[in-house]
Symmetry: D2
Subunit: 338 residues, 4 copies
Amino acid sequence: MIIVMQAGAAREELARVVARVEELRLKPHVIVGTERTVVAVVGDERAADGRGFETLPGVASVMPILAPYKVASREVQQEPTVVTAGSLVVGGGRVGVIAGPCSVESREQILATARAVKAAGATGLRGGAFKPRTSPYSFQGLKEEGLRLLAEAREETGLAVVTEVVAPEDVPLVARYADVLQIGARNMQNYRLLEAVGKCDKAVLLKRGPAATVEELLLAAEYVLDGGNRRVMLCERGIRTFESHTRFTLPLATVPWLHARTHLPVVVDPSHGTGHANLVTSMAAASVAAGADGLIVEVHPDPKQAASDGAQTLDVPAFERMMDTCRRVAEAVDRRLG
Amino acid sequence: MIIVMQAGAAREELARVVARVEELRLKPHVIVGTERTVVAVVGDERAADGRGFETLPGVASVMPILAPYKVASREVQQEPTVVTAGSLVVGGGRVGVIAGPCSVESREQILATARAVKAAGATGLRGGAFKPRTSPYSFQGLKEEGLRLLAEAREETGLAVVTEVVAPEDVPLVARYADVLQIGARNMQNYRLLEAVGKCDKAVLLKRGPAATVEELLLAAEYVLDGGNRRVMLCERGIRTFESHTRFTLPLATVPWLHARTHLPVVVDPSHGTGHANLVTSMAAASVAAGADGLIVEVHPDPKQAASDGAQTLDVPAFERMMDTCRRVAEAVDRRLG
Amino acid sequence: MIIVMQAGAAREELARVVARVEELRLKPHVIVGTERTVVAVVGDERAADGRGFETLPGVASVMPILAPYKVASREVQQEPTVVTAGSLVVGGGRVGVIAGPCSVESREQILATARAVKAAGATGLRGGAFKPRTSPYSFQGLKEEGLRLLAEAREETGLAVVTEVVAPEDVPLVARYADVLQIGARNMQNYRLLEAVGKCDKAVLLKRGPAATVEELLLAAEYVLDGGNRRVMLCERGIRTFESHTRFTLPLATVPWLHARTHLPVVVDPSHGTGHANLVTSMAAASVAAGADGLIVEVHPDPKQAASDGAQTLDVPAFERMMDTCRRVAEAVDRRLG
Amino acid sequence: MIIVMQAGAAREELARVVARVEELRLKPHVIVGTERTVVAVVGDERAADGRGFETLPGVASVMPILAPYKVASREVQQEPTVVTAGSLVVGGGRVGVIAGPCSVESREQILATARAVKAAGATGLRGGAFKPRTSPYSFQGLKEEGLRLLAEAREETGLAVVTEVVAPEDVPLVARYADVLQIGARNMQNYRLLEAVGKCDKAVLLKRGPAATVEELLLAAEYVLDGGNRRVMLCERGIRTFESHTRFTLPLATVPWLHARTHLPVVVDPSHGTGHANLVTSMAAASVAAGADGLIVEVHPDPKQAASDGAQTLDVPAFERMMDTCRRVAEAVDRRLG
């Protein structure tokens, strides 16, 4: 249910609406827009039926939320959400670029990469410290040491740090170092983890699982939003299909489809989405043309030596070329890269 | 690496091999078979190269494990694993049948279901107490109260309790009540959770994720096995494909494929695998014919009233018919149902 | 629209109904059942609205056909169709078994295979003479010479000949030699070909395309039925999914789903459906347990020497074992193999 | 096998090479590039092994073709093929735009559409006269009358006509009216049809089947090329996946992947690829950014009245906006629209 407040509603009127919602043991989400303030009410809304919100002072109208996702929906918030986290701006005409290695491997590696991607125009630094790996015998990341190195790279370059968190109990630790907490594709429906980042004050990058529908992605985002964290970015990184010439199939129609249904910004990952470095630039440019609000790209000073994901990782000159192309395409669709 | 001990190797010889493996900071998994004892060595095996295990007393031979999964592979253990958990036996010619509602809803519901499925020949009772739900606004289960009711149903009927655990921190609680910990499809690659159940003394039912390859399923099982828990059952419950007339596509060729590569038993879930009650019996029978070691089936005294998954849930008479058919098919392939 | 005739309707009454349908430039399909005769009317049915068929003598009732496929639907014909073609019987409690090589390669090969599969209980002989091949540079079949060899094998063994036809202009030639015309998966939506076999008096085995929905399969069958040929068998042979450990993914829930919606019998091809000989027997048994009315299986005296599809082809002893298992499973579900 | 001629090889030297290839009952395809002339030799190449082509006068070198497709491969022809058909130019830095209705419905409809898309910058006119339809009871097109109307629209507007041909026997008729013969997705592996258009002098637009791999698409193109017709355009129009919010999933990474392996130009169909008019512009722009050499888009003066595919069809103002966006994106990637 959405309770739309009148244009000039008083603060106390809003407070009374919120209090009434809470009395009914429902959850109010207040969304302050430039034009209007609304209260999205979630929970078992049958409790609220016919409870006369329409007649409370300051209330303009009351209407149902038709989408299964509530706080994420355009019905509740028409203006696009712009997520800002340090140097990174995603949405609102800005195409944020998060670049860096799959895994943090060493101080030299992460600092060199950070400097290079910053120089090329990136606005965020990615790098895995806690790595969820398909095999228990693969390299699992440098853990806290990796986080420290990312923070050091931020200090030097100013780049916002984007890194994955894989378990609820790690959220406080990772949040101490990171600007953006990434929820990986394998954990898109790890609800405890979503709840944990929902209660945290860091921005969240939520990756789509490779078999998740777009509705499931929005409902996963809803777990985070319902926890109170509004700084959520959705990330398309490819789905599992019969195609084997690419690592995943990257379905860019997701971008305009999501834009029509949610105010949350959409980031695309052309590295995982293709699995091959020689396809990344084309698909990054295509993502920007499709309306993506951000890109997340794997870059390494020496991809052949990368501890993981080398085949899909750009070297620095290739990343610079990618940025040049994407910058021009962004302008062609009235946006700005970086 | 597999170190195969000689037929009559002494206990001390085995101990010396294990100690040597640990000195190299590798992990030994001792598998005592009826014919031979082997030590599966996992970790960065390069450390062990040329370290002369062949010449240790009691060692028959040393060979590499070719599969990416190690302890799960047939190379390491040729005899099929039979998982026993209370009344439930899965594997070794027995086709265990786990039946019950999607969610535990009430004392009456779970007790009535338990009695009915027991009478029809089920050997395990399923029922969700902690429910991972796509939407944060859906019913999330009775939690500990649900576990208590399941334990009560076991006391009355003798049926082993199979129930899902969704987070590492819940493992001790769920393990206090359950005989088998189920890892749901959404959590197949929640590695912290796999590690937690790997250190637990309860059997594990590991469901395949809807976009997971069979290799990924085996590598997920490897996380549990590597933690020391050998009582792992794999569960095929359907994959995401373009087909929309069924909820998922149930690919039964998984059963013989897995049997050729792993000693772990394979359970099939025809309820989630089809999504429609009227397809369940045929697919349960097909699963048994394909060689499944177990079935997990949703049954409810009144499916139309079920809190979740009603469309795919059998009522009691339909379950009885399913059991009759499966019993005959099991005999036709020289197995025994229940 | 279905016009249901009264139980004792006179021949002239039926004729009058048919004439009236034709006057409206619609197409009548008369289906004579054991209990009732119906006239399925297809075409732009709006022409028939309110034209008073209900009041014609001998008419019991008139109702719409809800399914998009008409003549194929259970609404039009409740009794299952049993397709008989020479020695082959598919449906009605009989599980027909069509076996033979992918391609006819030589007189020796096809005769040896025919004798062996006949001895093991097969009731039909498969063998490709016109081979649709992915590459223009692959072996394209022996063409008419292959057809002649198949006919010779029939003469010796009595087995019905099942062989593919790939173009409308070949239908008369292939129909001269074959008992069943196979439409391959690539041609499931080659409508001219479907129309051509629809006008032919040979039975048709219609294979599902690897990306076709089950509704599309039924609509493809409708092209054949609408042409007047009622002896149509549907064939599930696997779909394209992300799975790569099998050649295709074989979704057996298709079998009961189709049985609920169509009277046409359903054949399963576990050879193409898995792509690996060691998975064929399990999946053949599973198909029978799922209710399949027939099996089509690749068998070759020496699979390693086969001109095509060797990896998925059974040798004769493996086929004999498959038949033993399937015979027992068929009995367990009250059917008879062969 | 590729026989590379020397830079200044004489016409007679080339003729001698060709004659020698034919003597060996192999097929020579002479490809005259700006830098070098090569002879691609296809057939059972073992016949040619060691036959001393290297020593023939004018021959620079001989090498194997590694790809399974031969004439289609970059190995045989490094320079991109530019397909020209009347007003339509596809490739070589030009992004051809083929627009028009799904089906030709009437003189007014096709003329109005042709004028409008021409004015907006389209260079080709699409429109179905022979419509392959999933149901035998759907509108199957105006057939020759539709072709006549297309030709009339060409006369008035100058737009090249692109229309589908569905059977080998129709090729002469359709070729009489059309500039480009379209092979629809359902017929991608209708080899007789591919052979028929391979012998025809009209350009061919070959659509990818929804379950076809990219290798299969190239091998289908090879059937056309091997017939002697070199003017082949490949068309990505979406694949079948589990996604249901779009009609198909449009995998744009196909574009750079194909460009790396074949010299044939690549056209994208964002109408079928998404199934929703409101997603078409974004995906058209993304296609151009990904490097597409052409677009094929459904446009109708009044999409709600369209006989088929209305939901995915742009009206004229939407098409004009699409063209504006694509024009700017094309410039950003150094190409020219139209």
